[in-house]
């Protein structure tokens, strides 16, 4: 059994006291350890934002890249490094805003990786502008009269886009979150998990209390094999907010036929060059 302490490092954490990110980080650590994964077997690709700092606060392989671009990084790693568990983890602005095109196309490819979005419905790191999931009417320094763009519903889009695993959890319910994370990591294909995360500094609407009062677990009576049912549930947002696995399905994964490269093959790629003469035939 791997100890969750194996994932601990000593970086000073730059999140605000009380931020939902702490719970997510601790839960991830547990989820991984309890799946018996060691830090060197896991890699987190992240973007830029508060959420995206997560690989710094764990002892884990990490590629902390550009704002909005973690999905392509993770996708290529999932395809070429089949020996690693790949997690893409970032914020709602990062994945649904700047990175929206990759989000859209990721479901079409279905790479074998987990996608965790810390959805605090706001741009945290840049000090509180609206994110694509901010609610209508929310006032910010830029949206001075309140948000007027319709918030996007990431679960609905994922379902419409062909996702094979669509789930939601809440940073305030660590047990549930852990189970969601684990199932996502074990899913074969792209496992999308939207995590409701209170931002104590900038989001005064969707607070811990606000979420707490609304979230409920749909697992008991919900059949995640039904796309229609998933869709219906994904549209629920307001007085009640369902969490759990909305939808799950198996489908071809990205680069399925591409072999798992051994470390040797990676170190010495020349070994793979054969049939050169046949190739040259084309040019005479």
């Amino acid at each position: 059994m791997v100890d969750k302490k194996a994932y601990q490092n000593k970086e000073e954490i730059a999140w605000c006291p009380g931020c939902g990110n702490f719970a997510i980080r601790m839960t991830l650590q547990e989820a991984l350890a309890d799946l018996n994964l060691e830090p060197h077997q896991v890699l987190i690709a992240s973007g830029i934002g508060q959420a995206a700092k997560i690989p710094h606060y764990l002892k884990i392989n990490g590629f902390n890249g550009l704002h909005g671009r973690a999905i392509p990084v993770g996708t290529a790693l999932a395809a070429t490094r089949k020996d690693l568990k790949i997690i893409v983890e970032s914020g709602d602005g990062d994945i649904y805003g700047e990175g929206g095109n990759h989000f859209l196309h990721a479901f079409r490819r279905n790479p074998n990786m987990a996608l965790f979005v810390h959805n605090n419905q706001v741009y945290g790191l840049t000090k509180g502008q609206a994110s694509p999931t901010s609610e209508m009417g929310m006032k910010t320094g830029v949206q001075v009269k309140g948000v007027t763009n319709l918030p996007l519903n990431p679960l609905l889009l994922a379902l419409a886009g062909g996702a094979t695993f669509v789930a939601r959890s809440f940073a305030g319910d660590r047990k549930h979150l852990k189970s969601m994370m684990q199932q996502a990591i074990q899913h074969r294909g792209l496992a999308f998990l939207d995590i409701l995360q209170p931002c104590v500094t900038f989001n005064k609407i969707n607070t811990f209390q606000w979420y707490k009062e609304r979230v409920y677990n749909l697992e008991e009576d919900h059949n995640p094999e039904s796309w229609e049912k998933a869709l219906e549930k994904a549209r629920e947002w307001g007085e009640k907010i369902p969490t759990g696995i909305f939808y799950r399905k198996e489908r071809r994964i990205f680069a399925e036929e591409f072999p798992q490269l051994s470390r040797e093959e990676i170190y010495d790629p020349r070994e793979r060059v054969y049939c050169w003469p046949e190739l040259l035939e084309n040019f005479k």
């Binding site: 060197h40 671009r69 070429t80 196309h105 990676i266 020349r270 005479k284």
Partner: protein, 551 residues
Amino acid sequence: MNTIGSLLAKALLRMGFHVFTCKDYMSRIRGGHNFSDIRFGPEPLQGGAEKVDILLALNEETWELHKNTLGETGMLVYDEEDFTPKGEEGKRKGLPLSKKAEEIGDKRIAGVIALGFIHSVLGLSPDALENILAEKFSGEILQKNIKALQWGHEQGEETFSVKPAKGLKGTKLINGNNAIGMGALVAGVQFYAAYPMTPSTGVLNFLAQQGERFNILVEQAEDEIAAINMALGASFGGVRAMTGTSGGGFSLMVEGLGLAGITETPLVILNAQRPGPATGLPTRTEQGDLEFVIHASQGEFPRIVLAPRDAENAFYKTVRAFNLADKYQVPVIILSDQFLGDSEQTVAEFDPEAVQINRGKLVKDYQEDTPYLRYRFTEDGVSPRLIPGEKGQVVLADSDEHNEAGNIIEDAQTRAKMVEKRMKRMEKIKEEMEPPLYNGPDHDQADYILVSWGSNYGPVEEARLALNDDGMKIGHYSFSDIWPLPEGKWREVLKGKSLILVENNYSSQLGSLLQKEGLGKPEIFIGKYDGRPFSGDELKRRIKKEVASSG
């Protein structure tokens, strides 16, 4: 038109000629005016000619557009059913191409009839072409093709006298795009992500087609931003990765280029230039992106730019690009263009065995007790690179400024040290850059020195040789390793000389770079920015004129 051209080129190749073909096509799918320029002879060729000896015009538009290019002794071959050429230029031979093709039973073979005729005019046997047709077709279609070829061959008689090269063996006809693809193959590329964009798509096609055979994962990304970030992800994972595009796509990759820079992730990026700005002329050629790729992305970080001279050079430079990327953990840009990418030329067979692979400071087993540090400070600025997945160790790359472990920092001292760590590699890289290639008389005997870069090598060489034959004393420096500008004695030589810069752009971008390094003001600039490549003849003419008026 392209098919007929490529049949002829292949036949000439097999008969032992050096061949150079150049494609001129419009940014549309059907119709419009497209043509192939085929040049051949006993000597190596690296560019087109201004004047044409045999012009095959399957319609009147072609004749009208090209009549000025037909040389004095040139011959027009045309379909007499289609039009009757006006004007008196050169010899001409009308053939009932489409009529005869229909007679034989397939409209599409009109071109083959013309090829048969052209063979006879050149005094060449149609055997090689017949073999090629037999490799492509069979049964009735083959029979019709052969009939067409033979009938065409019977219509002409030897008018031009041509001699193949001596001892040409194993030579292949390869365009720049395929050469780059082959270079990537033997360098061991394992991942290629790209978004289609003319004129870089050839490389994507080539690698996709070889992907299964050579175990390469080739992915068409949703956009160029995804492409470069995918390639970076793969490279961080340890596999050799590459992406390719043209100007507009490169613009979208600029942020990713900086990411390669700060994360010190090796990456090979092909920018196959076409005329800009923006969409510009998608299927034409230009060298307008040199200063752009050298300065692209915010902040300062080392990078390497290699501009291959020709197909053969493109092959070896591509391998070199991968090695340099790994050795210095920097992005390497291969700066090619449509002229190089689409032009086929005869090259000596590439030897994959002669190619060395250097993966730089890639750590196989990390044995130390201390945790691995991705950005460890070292004397040369290059940190040992561990592939993620090594038991007991983790690897962290970061696009923020970071400490040796890869964790975000904000303090002034670490920041400054990291900038210095990254930048000092530039000094070593500079030493490794290959100096420009010099051809011509001894430096002190040359009155002028031509300076070119990348794919202009061939046309400029042709012009130089012709000018030297005319008695001019003129040398030629051709840059291929272009950024950072190499060290070497060329720097001293250039300072005192009258330079003639030849570039396929408006503002003389290499000229700017030379001046920046204090190498004096180039005297003459011969630029071209109409989307077309230089030919040797044109250059010769323009150089003579400029020298006359400046002298």
